[in-house]
């Protein structure tokens, strides 16, 4: 697998996803580098991978968890992962000028982590529900439900019909 080609396809998307997960540009870059080091060593494994997009996002998610455990210490990192505190919309988007967009961004940041992640992966990175399920370790239907609940909550928050 050509790493440069892999970066062209998924590098920037992965960076944004890691920014969303870790809420820090420096940490996102560190973890992205770790991910690509891992991908560079995966010569044989690439032949077994069916869905590359889901695979690279899953690997990035795992690497982010490992990074959090390392950085915050095992116990605190696990506690943070358990309470699903990581994942920030505001880190991945530039602050908007429009008040409605500012409100949307704030409301999106207040969604439960599962729903927030499903919405982010679907809207920003354009993953399918099957891919989102594969990344998050749930079924495609669960991923679709999370997305639907997240979007409904956002619509309610923005004053639309539930």
């Amino acid at each position: 697998m050509n790493v440069a080609e892999l970066y062209e396809r998924h590098g920037e998307k992965l960076y944004r996803y890691l920014l969303f997960k870790l809420d820090s540009a420096e940490d996102a870059e560190d973890v992205l580098q770790e991910c690509f080091c891992r991908f560079a060593r995966y010569d044989l494994r690439w032949r077994l991978v069916r869905d590359r997009q889901a695979f690279v996002f899953g690997a990035a998610r795992n690497e982010a968890r490992r990074f959090l455990k390392r950085k915050l210490g095992r116990r605190e990192g696990e506690a943070m992962i358990a309470r699903k505190g990581a994942g920030s919309f505001s880190a991945a988007f530039a602050p908007p000028d429009e008040p409605s967009l500012r409100l949307l961004l704030r409301r999106a940041g207040e969604l439960p982590e599962d729903q927030r992640e499903a919405v982010f992966l679907k809207v920003v990175d354009g993953l399918t529900f099957k891919e989102i399920g594969s990344v998050c370790g749930v079924s495609a239907n669960t991923a679709a439900s999370r997305y639907r609940y997240g979007i409904e909550k956002l619509r309610e928050a923005l004053g639309g019909k539930p």
Binding site: Y7, R16, L44, A92, F93, A94, L104
Partner: protein, 155 residues
């Protein structure tokens, strides 16, 4: 909302999605691509198993597995062969000798005393054969030392 590639109904809202799509994504830091690719190339160079070594390792592993699989099969065949050889020889060689001697001792037309005497002779011969052989060997070894002695009939 329908996921076109998977056909899963997600039930989203086009207006909210459209609004989300209007949000400006944070730009990627300059030089990120180069830094990431350099680090990946460095990691690849430091990989313990080069492609050649990896092929060698796979071949060695396959060979070890083949030996591990073949060894029990071969040893089982060998054991069967050896036991067949050994059992065959003892049964085939020893049995007729003993049976013929016993038949000769017991089955003849001689009287009871005769038969008893023959059996005793056979038993004595069997018991004494080994000790006589040892005595003869020891005597032959001592020949040089015992030149002044007269020969004796050990039998």
């Amino acid at each position: 909302m329908k996921d076109e590639r998977e056909g899963t109904v997600g039930g989203g809202s086009p207006d909210v999605e459209r609004e989300l799509g209007r949000l400006m994504i944070v730009p990627v830091p300059p030089g990120l691509r180069q830094r990431v690719l350099d680090r990946a190339a460095e990691a690849r160079c430091r990989t313990v198993l080069t492609p050649g070594l990896r092929r060698l390792a796979i071949a060695a592993a396959a060979l070890i597995i083949a030996v591990l699989v073949a060894d029990p099969i071969l040893s089982r065949h060998e054991a069967v062969r050896m036991s067949a050889l050994l059992d065959g020889r003892t049964a085939a060689a020893a049995a007729p000798e003993v049976s013929s001697e016993l038949a000769e001792a017991l089955g003849g037309q001689a009287s009871g005393l005769d038969q008893l005497a023959r059996l005793r002779t056979l038993a004595r011969a069997a018991a004494g054969e080994a000790s006589v052989r040892d005595l003869v060997t020891a005597h032959e070894r001592l020949k040089g030392w015992l030149n002044h002695e007269t020969s004796e009939d050990l039998n």
